[in-house]
Amino acid sequence: MPEMNMVQALNSALRSEMHSDDRVVVMGEDVGQVGGVFRVTQGLFKEFGEKRVIDTPLAEGGIIGSAIGMAMYGMRPVPEIQFADFIFPAFDQIVSEAAKYRYRTGGEFSCPMVVRAPVGGGIRGGHYHSQSPESLFIHNAGLKVVCPSNPYDAKGLLLASIRDDDPVLFFEPKRVYRAVKTDVPEEPYLIPLSEAKVVREGRHVTVIAWGAMLFEALESAENAARHGIEAEVIDLRTLWPVDIDTILESIKKTGRVVVVHEAAKSCGFGAELVSLIAENAFLHLEAPPVRVTGWDTPFPYTLENEYLPLAHRITPALLQAARY
């Protein structure tokens, strides 16, 4: 089985699905000739031609709006937004239109499309190339939100997303793009949406993370183990609809939870997770839930390691929750 980084795994998923399903088209800024600024669509233009790999003018609302139209016609568009920070000109099309088509037409129309966008910090990108806007989309009914942490999951989740009948926001942690390699099968395979994965078992405290912060959570779990604390680490993989069963099962075992995310704390997805846990597992909790997140400031440039919820901030939170 070949080793791939996340960029290669995503490329492999797109290539295989474009071969097997001619409804799939890729569109966006710089996705054609040059294969995307992160090279996720590299080679596809040459292989599938300009009708299926479309370099668009610079207009996110146009990209997503026309992808919606294509999806309504029966295609399976996979539009790319160059950075999640630039998704906002398309926000209206995503949250008011794509998200609502099925509901507002009594199921007559739907928008099966996958909006791919790199997210997150760690590349010295300042606030316009580092944000994590997942909670804005989770909050708007009708959208699915996915965020893989590694190449293997990225391929299986992207294929499942393209085959899903609802619009999916597929957020790719750009810090992981080339930093992590795993074995990735050449052939297509699916990782079902809404299935989280327990990536490390433990009995004292549960850590919930996704994307690039999963690795920080794992490093913290290693650190905590040296203090005799066994942390269970859950990679959500699909953020919404979230796999509540896996979360609750873990909380029932550990009674303690730390949620980690890059986005700002207030109204971040952690707030929803902690509420769900409080509502559904209150009597199992042995300690107040803890959120380790980005601060409620814009994402800074120079101080990004001070902003991000990295292991140096997660480890003490784990110990604190475990020893409460």
Binding site: L58, A59, D85, P89, G126, H129, P300, T302, R313
Partner: protein, 309 residues
């Protein structure tokens, strides 16, 4: 210094246009306009500090390199999201008009930005309300890897003015004197109450989109070489030399002096402190609310990242 978004090839379009604006006029940049900012009086050290994001940077290390601003120089702020500055510049110039202040506002954009919804909105408002806005399109041929021909089916970007009732012209953007003259006339008319103008400056982006881009992946050497022949700085220099206004010696003295100054600025910037943790929590609001005070306390008292002990 982690990143740079250069202006090689576009120096005339940027600096000669800025020079054509009066001191009372304002400039809203895209992101290749640091030459305009320096022209306006930002000290080189200020620009370099911004590139380093250190504690002396007027943006307090919060922005990526080349995302400067300079209120003392009547220069607004660089924002990455393409096109956002355009309606803002319209509103800014509109406010001046409402207050009967006779200034013009120059706003820069790349030709790629003409595809953005904000461009349409800005042009439409500028036309309807006859605002004193001068739209300066740097048509440098490329929007990262996408050629100008892929942004519009119109014959030129200047053509777009007609649809909004905004008078438009095209100018050789590598001819500093032509740029100066065209922009000066447009700005004066705008300030005098004649409404907005659209100027398409034909130029070329000589290097990659930014230091993260390798343009060899999408454009030919021949195309780049052809534009090298039209280098706007060489052209202006030749013109000045033929008029005895500049010499070989002036040139080498100038380059030498700038090199020395630049080195000193870089050294100083490198030796400067990083911004404080406290600074991260400032300017979110005018006054710090309880939750930011609490988070600041956590950040200051909590464990430090290993890289910054």
């Amino acid at each position: 210094m982690g990143f740079h978004i250069g202006s090689a090839g576009e120096e005339a379009a940027i600096v000669a246009s800025a020079a054509a604006m009066r001191e009372v006029d304002w400039i809203f940049p895209c992101y290749r306009e640091f030459g305009a900012l320096l022209w306006r009086g930002m000290p080189l050290q200020g620009y370099i500090d911004n590139m380093y994001g250190n504690s002396n940077d007027s943006c307090r290390g919060r922005q990526m390199p080349d995302h400067y601003s300079g209120k003392p120089y009547r220069f607004a702020s660089v924002s990455s999201p393409i096109g956002t500055q355009l309606p803002q510049a319209v509103g800014f110039s509109w406010a001046a008009k409402l207050k009967d202040e006779k200034i013009a506002v120059a706003v820069y954009l790349g030709e790629g930005a003409t595809s953005s919804a904000d461009f349409h909105t800005a042009m439409n408002f500028a036309g309807v309300f006859q605002t004193p806005t001068v739209f300066l399109i740097r048509n440098n041929g490329w929007a990262i890897s996408v050629p100008a021909s892929h942004q519009t089916a119109a014959k030129s970007f200047a053509d777009k003015g007609a649809a909004y009732g905004v008078p438009a012209v095209r100018v050789d953007g590598n001819d500093a004197l032509a740029v100066y003259k065209t922009v000066k006339a447009a700005a004066e008319e705008a300030a005098a109450g004649e409404g907005s103008k659209l100027i398409e400056m034909l130029t070329y982006r000589m290097s990659g989109h930014s230091t993260s881009d390798d343009p060899r992946a999408y454009r030919s050497e021949q195309e780049v070489e052809a534009w090298q022949q039209k280098d706007p700085i060489v052209r202006l220099r030749k013109y000045l030399e033929s008029n005895q206004a500049w010499s070989e010696k002036d040139e080498s003295d100038c380059v030498e002096q700038l090199r020395t100054e630049l080195k000193a600025c870089i050294k100083k910037a490198e030796e400067s402190e990083r911004p404080s943790i406290a600074s991260m929590f400032e300017d979110v609001y005018r006054e710090k609310p309880w939750h930011l005070k609490e988070q600041q306390r956590q950040a200051e008292q909590g464990p430090r990242h290993k890289a910054n002990h």
